[in-house]
Amino acid sequence: MAHDTHDIHRSRAEFEFIKRKRATEMRGQLTSFAMMIFLTLIAFTVVAADFSNYLIVPIILLLAAIQVVLQLYNFMHMSNKGHGMMAFFMFSGIFVAFTIVLTMVTIVWW
């Protein structure tokens, strides 16, 4: 018996499970990739269609926010296990920053 080679023995069920999981993950990545391209197209379209700036800017900001979330979850592994604390801190930070910006916009610069 060789002590320094690691053979990983997986049962048939385990193997199937992992395979299915990888396939789901892959599908998720492809879907979000497609969605991102679609979002980018929308962004270009609203600009090309010459809508009012008051419409374009919020739409693009919204699309950007969706992109960020897609990126984080589907490509940067936030959906995987053990990222709860990280997500909690990120969303707390985003929340705090959002209230500050909202207040500034509504009571200082409006």
Binding site: M85, F89, S92, V96, I100, V108
Partner: protein
Amino acid sequence: MSSNSQKKGFGATIWDYMTTVDHKKIAILYLISGGFFFLVGGVEAMMIRIQLMKAGNDFLSAGTYNEVLTMHGTTMIFLAAMPILLAFMNAVSPLQIGARDVAFPFLNSLGFWLFFFGGVFLNLSWFLGGAPDAGWTNYASLALASEGHGIDFYSLGLTISGFGTLIAGINFLVTIINMRAPGMTYMRMPLFTWTTFVASALILLAFPPLTVGIFFMVFDRLFGANFFDVTMGGNTIIWEHFFWIFGHPEVYILILPAFGIFSEIFAIFSRKRLFGYTALVFATILIGFYGFMVWAHHMFTVGLGPTANAVFALATMIIAVPTGIKIFNWLLTIWGGNISFTVPMIYAVAFIPSFVAGGVTGVMQAIAPLDYQLHDSYFIVAHFHYVIVGGVVLAILAGTHLYWPKMFGTMLSEKLGKWTFWFFFIGFHLTFFIQHFLGLMGMPRRVYTFGADQGWDLFNAISSAGALLMAIGVIILLVNVVMTVVKGERVGNDPWGDGRTLEWAIPSPPPFYNFAQTPLVRGLDPYWIEKMEGNKEGMVYAEPLGDIHMPNGSFIPFVISLGMFIAAFGAMYHMDGHVWALPVLIGGLAITFGSMLVRSLKDDLGFHISKEELIADNERIQREARALEGGKKGGLK
């Protein structure tokens, strides 16, 4: 490794502390420097009270009064209260979670030295042309009009020490998330560790706005930008927003660790599990969140409009709810407990009514229309001293007594401690209670004198007398410290006899590696659980005895901070057109970035304590413990 039982020379000890990365020694550094700044701030407070002792006094000129007042507030918040709390966090929370050190020992040391040099820089203003004089809040219209370099000392000094605090906060977050011993789940963490955690999160989110605000201030004053200059299209209110977006969370950064210390004390000296542990944890987190949504209650009279005032008034009042939850939990912890009135417990019991009084005035001020009457009067001064002195400072004094044995291995005198308590406590209420009425009678805050015909003489005289009592209390504490150090009577692991958490299961002071074997935590209050099951060792272990990896000490944090300190002088005097200023600025930055480069390029892999050394050290510890036992039986008690 018997290095800590050997006597070292004075120089070697100093060098040891200048290069240490051990959280327990850094705690001592924080305690000594924070304590020093506390005394400086205290002297400034006495000068304020002497000036206001009687009508028309001329002890301080109007200009000097503004400087003393500003430096009192700034020193007490940034250089005394926060660092002393950081001292306890450093000394205790890694032990409470069963860790051998914080996650980034090097950064821990860097955080301390940045704070230290920032504080020294700020205080050098006294000798270099005058201290800042625009209040600790440094409102932009005052600050931009202030002559001399006082305000520059404020902004650069706070930038440097602010970096230090931010680094410390991040370090504790990473430590508490990643370095908990096996079994130490989040919901088994002692409350002091929890409050350290939430306060660190607040530091992480609150200090950047301050840094941004100060950055604008530096640019306005030193490089001619116009962020806050109304005549040039800037907006002076934005400073107020930045300051209070930081400032309100800051007061919670101070009070949460204080709550943590008191939670430990109530449980230990009532010999009971904390009542409502879960509620206390969630109240802490909630307070942390709400803390970011209320800053404009400091700006009700600015003219934000009725809608904004109403929103912020409501948000502010909501904070009183989790705070109230905590108060009831503490009361119910004491209820039916087997109470021993040691000095820490006396402080804790005295804290409850004092802090509640401050909370009640806080809710009064949160009523926006009423605040038009109260704002910028002595009522505000009374409010924040009730919460800060009645909450934070009492916790610091209680914590000093409680954790002194863990940090230094000796016990402060209980008798002198009680004297300190009574002088301080009576003096505190005498000084500040009456200021509520001075405020209601119309005395504005931040005035350097008042007239004899205004009817404020008697109350001001009483207030000054109270301050004298507090000063006497602090002096007795100093005597206590000196006597305890001189006597040097050693104590064992659990000197209070009723410790509940892991720090009391190891020697006082702990060996430099804290735990020879990482403990296994089997529930809330792990040491108490083991004691109750008759486990003599006080711990069960999660690993066999083996080599321990430790970080090397380093002088680099000191040098990095020194470089920033030098660069700050260059930046400041550059404005006056001195030719040497620019080279000093560049030289300072070169030192800072050069030492960072050295740190990055040179591998420092630390060292290992071998199993044999651990066994030998353990024998020494056992021997000392036996000697202590013998000594007790022979003479004392």
